[in-house]
């Protein structure tokens, strides 16, 4: 195909025109006639019994249309919100599943828990009325600190989860791992906290719903990453509206990072109430509501140990993690610290024995669920931190220690001891390239120069692997997933030759409208401006699983490719008829059907026209029309991998850290649009650096108030925190999907926290600092230096 727009071309993003000119259409932009506005009253307490809710004064306020409380939902027999993944504990028992009422009934369990819904003629009137609702709370002690959540005597969040334990899960054989540790020449131990993060999508969550009394149809507009899944959950589990009577539309969505996968109380209520109110209802979260009620990410407390032989070969890895679920189990929460975490603990290495034990705990904090990388950043952080720590302890170069333990390129497909089978990869050339670009050799000279300016310079590696392209349905089904994870596509040509491509994936910033169009352009030769990618509407697209887990291209794109094959196969029959040739002799290339060895040809557009105006047509064995769909269920996950190198300087007097260079070399398989891939990598790195140096959700440990509840206190990474990134690719194509692609959406965020923190530790080693927790804020770094100085003095 043409180099300018086909596979591998840096095509500018089609969607950016509307995003950059303010003509995108987001949920909040919807003009809905006679709309009402919802406002949710949230709990100001982390844990309290609701003695009574008095809405009488509020109901009389100007503009108030209706007020609903948890009791109304109980009366209407509305189901609870669900967790869609059943994790079996180490005794084979399903995880504890505490009730998750859509709105609190008699107990609130985190600051932000939903207490009442006020529907009014305007947002301000709804908010005014919320202030007039009198809730009598009996405030109880709260369990906030994860490290203490499982302690005896900790206040219980749910009666269904004694001791706050949701599951005690394990993978691997502990006895075998212990035996390997007994023989180890060196053991490196690590205690770490994987800090809790708040997703902060640019567009807050929003919902709008309309009920058509005549047909009994509901339409729900929602900032969802997966509208079909949301519809399925609402229909089958929560509201009982039949699927064919509920249309879910996720229009333009301004970022999700996982936080918009889940089914929340807010859109559930908006949808449910629409028929009761009899007018459309609109709701958009305020930013402080986003902070308090979007599902948070990460939040682990971990102890890990790595056993090595005298040459630095990894013998075994042992990991114990307590993972925070928050107050309720969100949609995919249980899977994140188990199947998306512990199964990744082999990393890029041949570690033969791995044991992981994960205990999931509930606390009086916002629910925690998948956030960009979901489990894999946590796993990478454990592995890559402990490997660098082992290297420092054994005085082996960190790159050398990694290389010594890399899975050799000849070993693929490679079965890890933690269930996954890596399909492809070649790690040594990646680290070589990264070290070359980062000028690793010159580092000591740069460190010395920095020292002359009073600065502490450090360098850190992170060699990550991730499993994405979620997911082979049979595999995830056997692990407890409540859904399949295939993807769908439909290619619908119009008689005039342009084409609409429906995908079950959803774009909320990823650029699918461009990447998928490039696939179509490449396969079918249709010019880019004749292609429309349609997504995000259950009424117009085939059932699909949405976008998360870096799956859109690897799974959704593969479905599109399969559908193009069907188009070509059908087109050949029509073209053969038109050219009076045999189907076997027809070839398709550059958008044209040809009879091999002749100069006969007919362009696809003409074939399409013939299919819709079938006056001269092979009616005997071919249906009219040019409209094909395909479903694709991947044979395996895909396994992107790479190495990042971070170089930074710390000002020991202030504790501030400046990243001076950042190199990332990735294996994303074949690349459709390198510009979009770079954008994904850049964004991912920024989010990972945010976790390492800046971001942290901080709750008051006794009251459970969210202290970092606004941008005054929650530090978002900004452009001026970063140098220009150096990015490169070293591909091994994925062997099991048609384009040989792997996912790129999460890699940056998965790898970078470890690269940064290894660099921080490297920089601070000369002043005696052993360990700094994330986020390595100026205060945190300064205190670590102080602590080391105090220890040295003692």
């Amino acid at each position: 195909m043409t180099a300018a727009t086909g596979i591998g071309a840096r095509v500018l993003r089609t969607e950016d025109k509307r995003f950059l000119t303010g003509t995108g259409r987001y949920v909040d932009d919807l003009p809905l006639a006679r709309a009402t506005y919802a406002y949710f009253l949230r709990s100001p307490h982390a844990h309290a019994r609701i003695k009574s809710i008095d809405v009488s004064a509020a109901a009389k306020m100007p503009g108030v249309v209706n007020i609903f409380t948890g009791k109304d939902l109980v009366d209407a027999k509305v189901g609870g919100l669900i967790c869609g993944w059943t994790v079996k504990d180490k005794h084979g028992q399903p995880h504890k599943a505490p009730a998750h009422p859509v709105m609190a009934v008699d107990t609130v369990r985190y600051v932000g828990d939903t207490v009442a819904m006020i529907v009014a003629n305007s947002h301000d009137e709804a908010k005014d009325a919320a202030e007039a609702i009198k809730v009598d709370y009996d405030v109880k002690p709260a369990t906030i600190d994860l490290a203490k959540a499982l302690d005896k005597g900790a206040t219980e969040v749910h009666p269904e989860a004694p001791g706050n334990l949701i599951y005690d899960w394990e993978i691997g054989v502990k006895a075998d791992v212990d035996a390997a540790f007994a023989k180890a020449a060196h053991v490196t131990k690590l205690d770490l906290v994987n800090n809790r993060l708040i997703p902060n999508a640019m567009e807050p969550r929003a919902a709008a719903a309309e009920y058509d009394k005549g047909t009994g149809h509901y339409t729900l507009w929602s900032t969802s990453q997966n509208p079909h899944v949301l519809r399925l959950i609402l229909s089958a589990f929560v509201l009982g509206i039949p699927e064919h009577k509920l249309r879910v539309i996720a229009p333009d969505v301004g970022g999700g990072f996982g936080s918009k996968i889940f089914c929340y109380a807010d859109e559930t209520m908006v949808c449910w109430a629409a028929s009761r109110v009899g007018r459309p209802i609109k709701w958009t979260a305020e930013r402080s509501e986003s902070f308090q009620t979007d599902c948070h990410g990460r939040d682990h407390v971990t102890h890990a140990e790595l056993a090595l032989d005298k040459d630095g070969k990894f013998l075994a890895l042992k990991v114990e993690t307590i993972a925070n679920m928050g107050a309720y189990l969100s949609t995919f929460s249980t899977a994140v610290p188990t199947y998306l975490y512990a199964t990744l603990l082999a990393g890029q290495y041949t570690t033969p024995l791995i044991y992981a034990n994960v205990k999931a705990a509930v606390t009086h904090t916002a629910p925690v669920d998948a956030y960009r990388g979901a489990g894999r950043p946590e796993a990478t952080f454990v592995i890559e931190t402990i490997v660098s720590k082992a290297a420092a302890e054994m005085k082996i170069d960190p790159a050398e220690l990694r290389r010594k333990n890399f899975i050799p390129s000849t070993a693929f497909p490679y079965q890890t001891p933690v269930a996954l089978q890596y399909d492809s990869g070649n790690y040594p050339p990646i680290i070589d390239e990264a070290m070359k670009i980062a000028d690793y050799k010159g580092f000591e000279a740069r460190r010395a120069e920095a020292k002359s300016r009073g600065m502490l310079r450090g360098i850190g590696f992170s060699s990550y692997i991730e499993a994405c392209g979620l997911a082979p349905s049979q595999v995830v089904g056997s692990l407890g997933a409540g859904v399949g994870q295939w993807e769908s596509a439909q290619i619908k040509f119009n008689p005039t030759g342009n084409v609409q491509v429906m995908t079950g994936a959803h774009s909320h910033g990823q650029g699918h409208e461009t990447t998928f169009a490039q696939l179509i352009h490449d396969k079918l030769g249709v010019p880019m401006d004749q292609i429309e990618i349609v997504h995000g509407d259950t009424a117009t697209t085939p059932f699909g699983m949405g976008t998360y887990g870096s799956r859109s291209l690897a799974v959704g794109g593969s479905a599109i490719v399969k559908a193009t094959e069907k188009i070509i196969a059908k087109g050949k029959k029509v073209a053969a008829h038109l050219m009076e040739a045999s189907v076997a002799d027809v070839e398709f290339e550059n958008g044209t059907f040809k009879v091999a060895g002749t100069d006969k040809s007919v362009p696809l557009a003409q074939v399409v026209f013939a299919a819709y105006v079938p006056h001269n047509y092979p009616h005997a064995d071919t249906e009219p029309g040019m409209d094909e769909n395909a479903f694709y269920d991947p044979a395996n996950f895909v396994y992107p991998a790479g190495t990042q190198i971070c170089e930074l300087e710390i000002d020991p007097e202030t504790g501030t850290t400046e990243i001076v260079a950042f190199t990332a070399i990735d294996d994303f398989g074949n690349i459709i649009n390198p510009m979009i891939v770079e954008g994904q990598v850049h964004g991912g790195i920024v989010q990972g650096v945010g976790q390492a140096l800046m971001e942290g959700a901080v709750y008051d440990k006794s009251t459970g108030q969210l202290i970092s509840g606004s941008y005054m206190d929650y530090t978002m990474p900004r452009a001026d925190n970063f140098p220009s990134f150096k990015h490169g690719n070293k591909h091994t194509p994925c062997p099991h999907n048609p384009q040989g692609v792997k996912g790129c959406g999460e890699a940056g965020a998965i790898a970078s926290p470890a690269a940064v923190m290894n660099a921080v530790h490297n920089a601070l080693a000369p002043v005696g600092v052993k360990h700094v927790e994330m986020p390595a804020t100026p205060l945190n770094v300064w205190q670590s230096i102080k602590g080391a100085q105090r220890q040295a003095a003692e």
């Binding site: 301000d124 941008y711 100026p778 205060l779």
Partner: protein
């Protein structure tokens, strides 16, 4: 936000009479502090008196040895002003490091100084340069102006019309920004003017304060070496998730030395 009546007077006199006639009225300059407060429903003024239409309040003039900045002058205008850059470059630098471009293009010196946020940058300059705050009724010296946490000498309905900064022989401002908000976690303004040496600290305490010991040492020897052993007690300083009081006390020393070095460059 709650409802309020909106006014846009054209003169200081009209603004003041509006403010006087409505006891629950609030003045608004850039709105960068007031509007978020309204949006969070933390304030409920009956009336908002927008000073944006009062032409006499905006602008920068050099009068003899002083740079006079009108109350409605935006941070971006101070940062970009050739007069300020020539007369007191440290003041232009300070203004250019407040918040982000959006904030600098809306926020004003009058609003900032009247608000007296403990983490605001301008109070450091006002005190260190021994500036004079002019209101619609009087002139107030810097030392008399800032009274405590969000507290100033301004009476109800009194408006800052301008602030007059004496030119400095040497001056510099250095801050460690709060990583999230980028307000000053600790900012130190050091100035050597005709009136002597002043060291003003913002961000660290409830209100801008001077460090007498440093001023005395610098008066004798204007070099960072002169203050390297002067420690600030941490008791009573601000403490939050971004900085403990010990950290802030330590940063006062570091920032003061760096400010002196910068002033000497």
């Amino acid at each position: 936000m709650y409802d309020f009546a909106y006014h846009r007077p054209k003169s200081v006199a009209d603004a003041v009479s509006l403010l006087k006639s409505k006891p629950e009225a609030r003045a608004m300059s850039g709105g960068m502090t007031l509007i978020p407060t309204l949006k969070q429903r933390l304030a409920r003024p009956s009336d908002v008196v927008d000073l944006g239409g009062v032409k006499e309040l905006a602008g920068i003039k050099v009068e003899g040895n002083n740079v006079v900045v009108g109350g409605m002058t935006r941070h971006a205008d101070v940062a970009g002003s050739a007069e300020v850059k020539a007369a007191i470059p440290a003041l232009a630098y300070l203004a250019g490091h407040i918040g982000d471009p959006q904030v600098r293009n809306r926020g004003t010196i009058g609003g900032s100084v009247a608000n007296n946020d403990p983490a605001a940058d301008y109070p450091g300059a006002v005190v260190a340069l021994n500036a004079t705050v002019t209101t619609n009724t009087r002139k107030i010296t810097a030392d008399d102006f800032f009274k405590g946490l969000f507290e100033t000498a301004l009476a109800d309905g009194e408006l800052i019309t301008s602030i007059s900064f004496p030119k400095a022989e040497k001056a510099a401002y250095v801050k460690v920004p709060n990583p999230a908000s980028r307000y000053a976690m600790v900012g130190v303004f050091v100035a050597k003017t005709a009136a002597g040496v002043r060291v003003a600290v913002t961000g660290a305490g409830a209100c801008v304060f001077r460090v007498k010991a440093m001023e005395d040492a610098l008066a004798k020897n204007f070099s960072s070496a002169a203050i390297k052993d002067i420690k600030i007690p941490f008791e009573g300083l601000n403490s939050d998730i971004h900085g403990s009081s010990e950290y802030r006390a330590h940063l006062v020393g570091v920032m003061a030395r760096r400010a002196v070095d910068a002033a000497n460059k």
